[in-house]
């Protein structure tokens, strides 16, 4: 039994892609903020990337089977943490998402919950020793997922809550959900959307407005539709070749909303043009395909579920964020992984990739 994985076991192509995306992100953060009061943000982001790499190395050391053994405890820990946040959480921007740790760093508990749900669902799905998921199993998957989803919705953080759902859906898909169940599920969702639409008055006013704005951005150009319109202007005015590094007027003059974080792709699209967007989106596609490749080479189904859990979350982030930037989806506050500025979000991505490395390193271990 090989106790320590060698340096060859590290997925260098994956790391290369991650490094490229992170590097582009840091440069764009610099470009977006260097002329403003937030100058110097890129160094902080680099620090988070460094911390993330260390975390990734650490998490890849612990056998993922060991982690999966602890799934029930982790799940309890996650749910209790979310409850604690709701009760004593530190409120910022009108939402309780952060817990202050020793007064140093504010940790977004829901980011940890993303990791936990990957592990928990991988464990649960690995326990289903069949290629066909029963309805009872589907129900259990639903309950396991919906508990944290509801708690995060309560914070309220619609974006992060939504992100947990694809882990369950993709997991169920690979655990062998029957096509007819998948079809029924899709139909149910199709029916639920109009129902949810009628329930929208139970949403927070800002959430209502976001949906309203998404559906009719032209009606409120300078109000809530402002963000989407400004993002589209930045993207569209970038043209094919872009305006050049640090030369995007919409970006530099601050018309692009949160241009260093949620809308960093709009800032990049303005300065680097369609070409730059192609490079970035193809890098993300490369990342996804490389992750799927890792899943395909996993030693067992548990490993595959872990890797595909990570893949589904990252893919969902990219899809929703890029769609938002071009006005295909409402503003939900979902960052672009590895590029958007943010400590917890960046750390999560690296820890999640650590799980992937973990699975990869143990593919030949018996």
């Amino acid at each position: 039994m090989k106790e320590h994985s060698s340096i060859q076991d590290i997925d260098w192509p994956l790391l290369g892609i991650v490094g490229a995306i992170s590097g582009i992100g840091v440069l764009e953060i610099y470009s977006s903020t260097h002329a403003s009061a937030m100058a110097g943000m890129q160094w902080k982001q680099l620090m988070w990337i460094g911390i993330g790499l260390v975390g990734m190395a650490l998490i890849s050391r612990i056998d993922y089977h060991t982690l999966l053994d602890q799934a029930p405890a982790l799940y309890m820990f996650g749910v209790v943490s979310l409850l604690v946040v709701l009760v004593i959480g530190y409120s910022r921007l009108g939402a309780k998402r952060w817990i202050s740790i020793g007064g140093i760093a504010n940790l977004q508990v829901s980011e940890i919950m993303k990791l936990i749900i990957i592990i928990v669902l991988a464990r649960f799905l690995a326990e289903v020793h069949t290629d066909r998921l029963s309805l009872a199993d589907l129900f259990k998957i639903g309950v396991l997922t919906l508990i944290p989803v509801v708690l995060i919705l309560k914070q309220p953080d619609l974006g992060t809550a939504m992100v947990l759902v694809p882990v369950a859906v993709v997991g169920a898909f690979f655990a062998g959900i029957e096509w007819k169940h998948l079809l029924v599920g899709a139909l149910l969702i199709g029916l639920l959307i109009p129902l949810a639409w009628n329930m929208r008055r139970h949403l927070k006013p800002y959430q209502q407005q976001r949906i309203e704005t998404f559906l009719h951005p032209e009606q409120d150009q300078r109000g809530a539709g402002y963000q989407i319109l400004q993002s589209e202007i930045a993207v569209g005015s970038g043209g094919f070749w872009g305006k050049g590094f640090g030369k995007g007027s919409q970006n530099q003059l601050g018309f692009v909303p949160v241009r260093y974080s949620d809308f960093i792709l709009a800032a990049l699209a303005e300065e680097q043009g369609f070409i730059g967007v192609c490079v970035v989106l193809l890098l993300y596609l490369g990342l996804i395909l490389r992750l799927v490749d890792n899943a395909q080479k996993a030693k067992d189904r548990a490993g595959m579920f872990v890797v595909m859990g990570v893949t589904s979350i990252l893919g969902f982030h990219v899809l929703v964020n890029a769609s938002m930037v071009i006005g295909y989806m409402p503003v939900t506050g979902i960052p672009l992984p590895l590029m958007s500025y943010g400590g917890s979000a960046t750390a999560f991505v690296f820890l999640a990739l650590g799980l992937v490395m973990n699975v990869r390193m143990r593919r030949f271990v018996n």
């Binding site: 999966l68 003059l253 893919g315």
Partner: protein, 617 residues
């Protein structure tokens, strides 16, 4: 090992491959989305991007100043700041309102009202919440740039009227261009432009208005100016010099105090208006900022019509001042001999009606008729002349017609004639009406400025001077209505008597030493004798005095009207003061009200009165 970890199943390779294909497909969909924006609609968005960041800012050109004849400032402009409220971010706006109310001292209702009023305007047009910001207001906006980005400052040019209410009706006022004016001159005006609305501000708007400049700046998302792209400076409006003499204006205004009426002082040789008063009046400074709706309504509905320039717009019966026209007509038409004499028992009967005189004058000739203002004498003159001859001479001397003074909205007044009565009332002229017209009552209506010009015309042999306010006015034309020297001599001697002879209607109270001051009083009833008899008292009467000097070929004329003054003789002192101030200035004695800048070069001013003032008949 736990049972969950039994490695007994194959991986779902098919579904994993499917996942990859779907991922690739979704990336293609996203790229198509970016392609649409960045390639297909790139031009449209580039356009929007440019509009986003580049904002044109008008640089308002100051209106030209108005100076008096000696270069003293009567009206000027000064830069000031307006506080703007940006409305393009409603949520931010809503949140900022309480702080703005406190900081700028605007009431909540007021602010809401202004926002409601602008509801239908495009959201990117800001609202002016404070048109004239104080230093404290400006400091408040500057210090809250970061947390109150909805506030902004705009430099504007404001009109300043240092004289306040003095000369106000003549100068007029400014205001925002009206929708009608905008429609008429879409190339010249933009909404919000300040234009002259009345008086000289309106008349000479085109001369004094400047050309606004334009600055294009790059602004960031909170409207902060980052840098200037280009700059076209504003061209300030040219100043205009008026014929007004501030010193004389002050003397006249001070004399009027709270009286109601009007005064016109003119250079009798050129028609240059030296002073022009209209009371009650208003303060044009109130219009320079933004006149509150209630104040505007109050000014408009005030029964005393403070916005009316009485000097050119009050159309009133001239009373006995009209006797100057009658005397001239009598002599010129030769309808009666110059020696024509009447016995005045205090009344006379014509056409079965009794017409009164203020008292029994006994035997009255033309000279006494003018000096003592005997109505009975002129009733007889009127009867002999007939309405059409009276109308011919009155019209010839410029009554019942606009003088053409360079002010908007001058009124013509009215001189009745047979033709007029047939046209308007569709009946023949009643001969009895001529008797009232003979003493400047009945349908006769004139303006103060017409009377001033008429008197000068009689005293100079028939030259009708062109009244004007612009110092270097071009293309002025005098009217001509020749009057024989004999007539001029007789009528002007009569007017000299009014002031200087013991039985003159001014009772010698307004005599001026060394000045050949002459004039004619008038008292115009505002209702009929019958009504007065019924009420048993005199109601308000309008007092007139038109004075000039010297007796012939005058150099100054002053017409004054005091409404509700009673007898015309009480108006004469005002005219005397202005005429005296004119001669005092001429001889180097400055009026009390003059200011320091106003001292002429020392030396060379003769203490003696000029020759013209010492002439005695």
């Amino acid at each position: 090992m736990a049972p969950w970890n039994v490695n007994d199943q194959k991986l779902p390779q098919g579904r994993l491959a499917l996942f990859s294909y779907v991922s690739a497909a979704l990336v293609v969909v996203l790229l198509v989305g970016f392609w649409k924006l960045q390639v297909v609609q790139s031009e449209h968005y580039s356009d929007l991007a440019e509009k986003n960041g580049i904002r044109p800012i008008a640089i308002i050109a100051p209106r030209g100043a108005m100076l008096d004849r000696e270069g003293r400032v009567l009206v000027d402009s000064y830069p000031s700041f307006s506080i703007l409220l940006l409305r393009d971010n409603p949520k931010l706006l809503e949140k900022s309102l309480p702080q703005i109310e406190d900081g700028l001292g605007i009431s909540k209702e007021d602010l809401q009202q202004q926002l409601d009023a602008a509801k239908l305007e495009p959201k990117f047009l800001p609202v002016v919440v404070k048109p004239a910001a104080s230093e404290a207001d400006i400091a408040f906006v500057e210090s809250h740039r970061a947390d109150l980005p909805v506030l902004d400052l705009m430099m504007v040019q404001r009109r300043r009227y240092p004289l306040g209410e003095m000369l106000a009706n003549t100068i007029g006022y400014v205001g925002e261009v009206s929708p009608q004016e905008l429609e008429k001159n879409p190339d010249r005006y933009r909404p919000g432009d300040i234009v002259g609305k009345a008086g000289l501000e309106k008349e000479y708007n085109d001369q004094i208005v400047g050309t606004d400049g334009m600055r294009r700046v790059v602004v960031n998302s909170v409207g902060k100016v980052i840098r200037t792209l280009d700059n076209v400076e504003a061209i300030p409006g040219k100043p205009i010099q008026l014929t007004i003499d501030e010193d004389l204006q002050r003397v006249a205004e001070t004399d009027f105090a709270s009286k109601q009426g009007a005064l016109v002082a003119m250079d009798a040789r050129t028609g240059e208006i030296l002073a022009m008063v209209s009371r009650p009046t208003f303060d044009p400074n109130d219009f320079a900022i933004r006149i509150p709706a209630q104040e505007w309504a109050a000014l408009n509905s005030d029964p005393n019509t403070p916005l009316l320039n009485r000097a050119i717009q009050a159309q009133l019966a001239p009373g006995s001042v009209f006797k100057v026209v009658m005397a001239t007509a009598m002599l010129e038409s030769k309808a009666l001999p110059p020696t024509y004499t009447v016995y005045c028992p205090g009344y006379a009967n014509f056409y079965g009606r009794t017409f009164h005189c203020d008292h029994a004058h006994g035997s009255v000739d033309l000279h006494k008729g003018i000096v003592a203002s005997c109505d009975v004498y002129f009733y007889n003159v009127g009867k002999a002349l007939g309405i059409d001859r009276i109308s011919y001479y009155a019209g010839g001397l410029g009554l019942g017609k606009r003088t053409g003074v360079d002010l908007p909205s001058e009124e013509p007044g009215l001189i009745p004639s047979e033709e007029w009565v047939e046209r308007v009332y569709h009946h023949k002229w009643y001969a009895g009406s001529t008797i009232s017209v003979a003493i400047g009552q009945g349908a006769v209506m004139v303006t103060p400025i017409q009377l001033a010009r008429m008197i000068v015309g009689v005293a100079n042999g028939g030259t009708l001077i062109p009244p004007h306010l612009l110092k270097d006015a071009q293309g002025l034309k005098s009217g001509s209505f020749p009057i024989s020297d004999d007539t001029v001599q007789q009528v002007t001697d009569g007017m000299w008597g009014v002031v200087n002879e013991p039985d003159g209607t001014t009772s010698g109270t307004v005599k001026l030493q060394n000045i050949d001051f002459s004039g004619k009083t008038g008292t115009a009833q505002t209702e009929s004798f019958e009504l007065q008899n019924k009420l048993g008292k005199h109601l308000k009467e309008n007092g007139w005095f038109v004075g000039y000097a010297p007796r012939r070929n005058p150099e100054i004329v002053v017409a004054a009207l005091v409404q509700g003054a009673g007898w015309g003789s009480s108006v004469a002192p005002i005219v005397r003061d202005v005429v005296k101030a004119y001669y005092d200035k001429k001889s180097g004695h400055l009026p009390q009200t003059s200011t320091a800048e106003n001292i002429p070069p020392s030396g060379g001013v003769a203490p003696a009165a000029p020759a013209s003032a010492t002439q005695q008949p």
